[in-house]
């Protein structure tokens, strides 16, 4: 089978390397690159050379960003070429359009690498759903923020110091806001909710990051027997669903609290299987490339995933309700002081907590908040 790779950055090179070394029946025939980087005879800067080549059955999109990735994916699908992508931003934004175009033209859309990097997360949800309903999912889906929180806790280091180290190691982008403000996890949460719940997930749900997290916050939480992790979460119940992205104070003895460095851990709860958790590298050239090549092999073996957005679930924020810990010098409506500057507010929805945080940030831009779910 001949395939083309769009974009020859870290992930594109990973796919090329793995296909070259580890698969017998797949050939990377064309690579789309910028005109000044055509280093190899397979490379072209003209997408027409790929989309109009009848021999190419599948296109691997590794460009990132919304455009031109969105246009290229739609054009490839419309030309009957299946698409494998790791681009969470473009899938979260255009998932229904892609799925509908794929259905029309008999092509497939494969998105394993868009959530959890090398972790077989999307395929696992699909497999679980052959038997079970998925009632919830939850996960550490962003390696950069996990690296930052883990290094802050282990080395008693400041946020800024650790972020700079993460950037030097290549674990964080120079513009890190998509990671530390939760946008990357938001995209992965939207995709996971679509696949797990068959829902056309709202894009208007509460998203908070870890930008204002301090060592003092980690100390206070540790005193409460908790660590903190940036989690994307989704819950489904009785024709309703809720999703959120926020720092969650997890018990120190939970698997989540003990996920080191830039690893990911994503969980689901199924009706007969119970809880399943999957741990691995959430990013990186070879793990993400591996997930994309798994999709390519699945496609070659006849797997044709389809996506359904027809579950008319009502978005019901009250499904994600817990206590919240706030640190702010702004005034909060009630609550119990637990340490100097720290207040616990009981039984807030994630949405309400985010509203209170917005108000607090206006007066105190260093304000921080974390959900305090009940321990199991």
């Amino acid at each position: 089978m001949k395939i083309a790779i769009l974009g020859y950055g870290t992930v594109g090179r990973g796919v090329d390397e793995i296909v070259g070394k580890h698969t017998a029946d797949v050939e990377v025939a064309r690579i789309l690159e910028l005109p000044d980087r055509l280093a190899d005879e397979r490379m072209t800067s003209d997408f027409r050379d790929i989309v109009e080549d009848p021999e190419i059955a599948l296109v691997v999109e590794c460009m990132g960003g919304l455009e031109p990735a969105h246009t290229y994916i739609i054009e490839a699908l419309a030309a009957g070429k299946s698409v494998v992508t790791s681009n969470k931003a473009v899938v979260a934004e255009y998932f229904e359009e892609f799925a509908s175009q794929a259905r029309c033209s008999g092509a497939s859309l494969l998105i394993e690498a868009s959530v959890g990097g090398g972790i077989p997360w999307i395929a696992s949800i699909e497999k679980v759903r052959r038997i079970d309903e998925v009632s919830s999912f939850s996960g550490i889906m962003n390696g950069t923020t996990n690296y930052i929180v883990d290094a802050m806790a282990k080395n008693d280091a400041d946020f800024d110091e650790v972020l700079a180290a993460a950037q030097a190691l290549g674990y964080a982008e120079r513009d890190s806001s998509a990671d530390i403000d939760g946008i990357d996890v938001k995209n992965k949460t939207i995709i996971s909710a679509c696949v797990a719940f068959d829902v056309s997930c709202t894009k208007e749900f509460p998203v908070s990051g870890i930008r204002t997290l301090t060592n003092g916050d980690l100390d206070v939480l540790r005193g409460m027997g908790r660590g903190v992790k940036l989690l994307g979460r989704g819950v489904r119940s009785d024709g309703r669903y809720a999703v959120s992205v926020e720092p969650v104070a997890v018990p120190l003895s939970s698997l989540e609290a003990n996920v080191p460095s830039n690893f990911n851990l994503i969980s689901l709860e199924g009706s007969t299987i119970g809880p399943l958790k999957f741990y691995g590298q959430g990013a990186g050239m070879l793990p993400t490339g591996n997930a994309m090549v798994q999709d390519i092999i699945d496609f070659a073996n006849g797997r044709r995933p389809t996506y359904d957005f027809s579950a008319r679930l009502a978005y019901a924020p009250e499904l994600l309700t817990s206590d919240y810990l706030f640190r702010t010098t702004a005034s909060l409506p009630g609550g119990e002081g637990v340490a100097s500057g720290y207040t616990i507010l009981r039984s807030l929805t994630s949405e309400k907590a985010r509203e209170l945080l917005d108000d607090a940030l206006e007066k105190d831009p260093t304000s921080f908040m974390a959900a305090l779910p009940q321990e199991d």
Copy 2:
């Protein structure tokens, strides 16, 4: 597709319930039960009614034990019926014979539920191996022993007390020796090694359990920043392999140390994917039933797993070498005292450690030993 279930205990009932409620195209047409328990018109006590029924495509073996499970599996395969089994003992003992009979008669053997209960472990190894070599695996593969160690550590309770509680909860058999002496994990390790390494795994490798574990041992290990877990492990390197089952002192901050209750956590290391870890229910009616029904659906969808035992790997115990902590009143060859009654011996193979433990147990039947692998 019509299937038959052999044995209507916990797991057999789980399979029947899940097939009845959650799958559209599969019908449980016959169930093999003891003559005095034929409660349902599908039930028969005569295996001929199943193996000679041309409409039955697949047999689900939920009997456990070596015989008659072994005979029934071979006869079903010889009759061209595919077999799904959760029976680790019979697969570990007769894996090559089953695989060879399946190959001859064009039937399939599916063994997902034989290791890790509801965790998609066998299918995950097979998927990883489409691209990667697996260089090692390691896991908490027995829920009973994890429950015991976890409860001893959390409740400061004695081994015997916790074992009795586990038996009352149905987490441990009345005859618990297969669990606490590591035999169950040995079988799962043999199966994992076959699937991960294509090796006809030796049955002569070191196996130790947790029968002599005390609260004092847990305290001493905690002082060293470690917990203890009964792990099945396998390593492959340069045409050689090693396997072992023994208590391993894992860092308190590892995922392994934080696996609660009767859950399992199994890991592998692949050449491009890096480490992957899978967590879930390692036993139980619905999780194990779920894994078997996943195999049934896979088979219905055309999955035909094959097993290869042709990797002529040399069994090389030196691949599993680490320091060991011993507690014994018997004398040991050298070593460093670390606490009253406790000695660390450096750089032993798992085999050598097991030999030393055997010697020690002759003089002090309460002796205990745990591997102390280097922290990553």
